[in-house]
């Protein structure tokens, strides 16, 4: 665990629900992620910032099982999930979004949530053909929860609309709905506010607050510093694949390395 991490976690109460330790991945000898360590407690929101190419998205992809790590470990709720398949990672309670909101264009909004619901754990030809009673009950419960989540996200009236015809912001909300259906312990959000209008940003923030109040730990990768200030407890700064600073946002802002690597670049814009 890095020095910055130790300094932070020693002062906290409660064991972290999510620990990344010494994560490393090289591409053709070039380090994309170079010994990154992070930890999150239930209900905590950690911002992950860094300039383009600093390894933020690669780190998310490794943690969520889309890219294999060369070294290091990812532990969720005491279980080592390092290099597990991405679908196993999702079912174990660690879920992610993508930089550009992704939906299944041909499926309805409701179907998105049903797929992500509990019933998805049971999908097979056998259960599709022999619809056992407990499965039907499970499906009914999933359908009820899906309807509730859609209403909560103000997408209730669009339940039967094909996701491909939703607006960008609605697609982003639907992604959050998909996450909520998976009953996650940890959520990785890859630039959730990018290209979203201010009203929608507020709505997304409301959802994030709701999730954290339910005890979900959130790792939020973001370029939008303003949004980050309002949403996160701490920030970690990544540059060239390495974690160069971590702490509350005001402290981190003062670190000269950070100003050079990231904030300085933003100020010049």
């Amino acid at each position: 665990m890095s020095e910055t991490m130790k300094a932070k976690t020693n002062g906290d109460v409660g064991a972290p629900v999510f620990v990344v330790d010494g994560l490393r991945r090289h591409f053709g000898g070039v380090p994309a992620v170079d010994g990154v360590s992070l930890s999150l407690r239930s209900g905590e929101v950690l911002g992950l910032i860094g300039p383009n190419g600093s390894g933020k998205s690669t780190a998310i992809s490794i943690i969520s099982g889309f890219i294999k790590a060369d070294e290091g470990s990812v532990v969720l709720d005491g279980r080592d999930i390092t290099n597990r398949r991405s679908d196993q990672v999702a079912r174990s309670g660690l879920v992610r979004t993508f930089q550009i909101p992704r939906v299944w264009g041909e499926l309805t909004a409701l179907e998105h949530l049903l797929i992500s619901g509990v019933a998805v754990a049971e999908e097979s030809l056998r259960t599709a053909l022999i619809r056992r009673r407990h499965l039907r009950e499970l499906e009914r419960a999933t359908a009820r929860r899906a309807a509730e989540v859609l209403d909560y996200l103000n997408l209730g009236s669009l339940a039967d609309t094909r996701a491909g015809s939703l607006s960008g912001g609605q697609k982003r909300l639907l992604e959050f709905g998909r996450l909520m259906m998976l009953k996650p312990k940890v959520i990785l959000l890859d630039e959730p506010f990018a290209g979203v209008n201010p009203t929608m940003v507020q709505q997304l923030q409301k959802v994030i607050d709701q999730l954290r109040s339910e005890g979900v730990a959130i790792l939020l990768v973001e370029h939008n510093l303003q949004a980050l200030t309002e949403s996160v407890d701490r920030v970690a700064v990544l540059a060239l694949g390495r974690l160069i600073a971590e702490g509350d946002i005001e402290t981190v802002r003062q670190i000269p390395e950070v100003v050079t690597a990231y904030l300085g670049e933003r100020k010049r814009k």
Binding site: S64, G65, F66, R85, S86, D87, A90, R91, V95, R96, F98, R102, V103, W104, G105, E106, L107, E111, L114, I115, S116, A119, V120, A121, E122, E123, S124, L125, T127, A128, L129, R131, E139, R178, L182
Partner: protein, 293 residues
């Protein structure tokens, strides 16, 4: 007039056979990105499975079940043992085409080795034709029409109303998103190959029932119309495969009855080319060229 309606009637029987075969081909392609050139041999396996059952003294219904199960197992094995490796490594289309064409050769020669290269036939009772509305159908053709419609209905039910079906559609659309949502992509793709193998084999049993006799190329000779129907509709879509099958089935039978039976394949290819000239992605216009599983 009666020639035309008779031809349309035969065309509908052809269409249901093509629809079963093309839906199976299309679904396998949409979840795995593999255009299965050994697809025709799944039909042949179904027909020979039914033949074996009949030779053992079982009736045709039991024969169809055995044929369907054989096709399911072979479809699953094809993917699980051979194609999965290529799909995982992101092999280019030309390689999967070559591999599946190779599997086709192996299967055809193996069937020839076991059953001999001379033609065989399924014993089908009572070929009396009767008029139903404007159409003239034999009992066998009626069984094929009704059985085929029931199978297609079941397929639609699975795709639209079950978790397995929703998972198939999600994987066809965006496999990474499916993984991120906890869908067991690998298992679902394998189960799709199993289901579609069984569907193709049942189409093979029906095809063998409608032919006076058949041989080891029963299914591979049917591949062209299967491809044409799947591609016309917009590959990867079951709706498209069914619409494509209706067009190909009816037009080829009608043209065959006015021209010569030898023109049927030419006619299928002509329709394919014309449709693709107007709509390059097929009638239902799917952009995506398959998924990686």
């Amino acid at each position: 007039m009666s020639t035309l309606t008779d031809a349309i009637g035969y065309g509908l029987v052809s269409a249901i056979l093509i629809a079963l075969s093309a839906s199976a081909f299309s679904l396998q392609y949409s979840v795995s990105g593999v255009p299965n050139f050994a697809h025709g041999d799944l039909l042949t396996i179904g027909a020979y499975g039914a033949l074996v059952a009949q030779r053992m003294g079982l009736n045709l219904a039991a024969g169809a079940a055995i044929g369907g199960i054989s096709g399911g197992i072979f479809g699953w094995l094809m993917y699980r043992v051979v194609l999965r490796t290529f799909v995982r490594r992101g092999a280019r289309l030309v390689f999967t085409v070559a591999v599946t064409a190779g599997i086709a050769l192996i299967l055809e020669n193996s069937i020839g080795l076991i059953f001999g290269n001379s033609n065989v036939n399924l014993v089908v009772a009572n070929q009396v034709a009767r008029h139903i509305g404007p159409f003239l159908w034999t009992n066998t053709q009626l069984v094929i029409l009704i059985g085929g419609a029931v199978l297609l209905g079941a397929l639609y039910f699975i795709l639209l109303r079950t978790d397995f079906g929703r998972a198939i559609r999600a994987i066809s659309d965006n496999p990474d998103l499916a993984r991120a949502s906890g869908v067991r992509v690998e298992r679902t793709v394998q189960m799709t190959w199993l289901m579609c193998g069984a569907l193709a084999a049942l189409a093979g049993v029906a095809l063998a029932m409608s032919e006076p006799n058949f041989g080891i190329y029963l299914g591979s000779d049917f591949l062209l119309v299967t491809f044409a129907a799947a591609i016309i509709g917009g590959i990867g879509k079951v709706n498209g495969a069914v619409i494509g099958a209706l067009i190909i089935g009816v037009v080829t039978e009608v043209s065959g009855s006015y021209l010569s039976a030898g023109f049927k394949q030419v006619c299928a290819i002509t329709i394919l080319v014309i449709v693709l000239l107007v709509r390059p992605n097929g009638l239902l216009n799917i952009q995506r060229a398959g998924a990686e599983a």
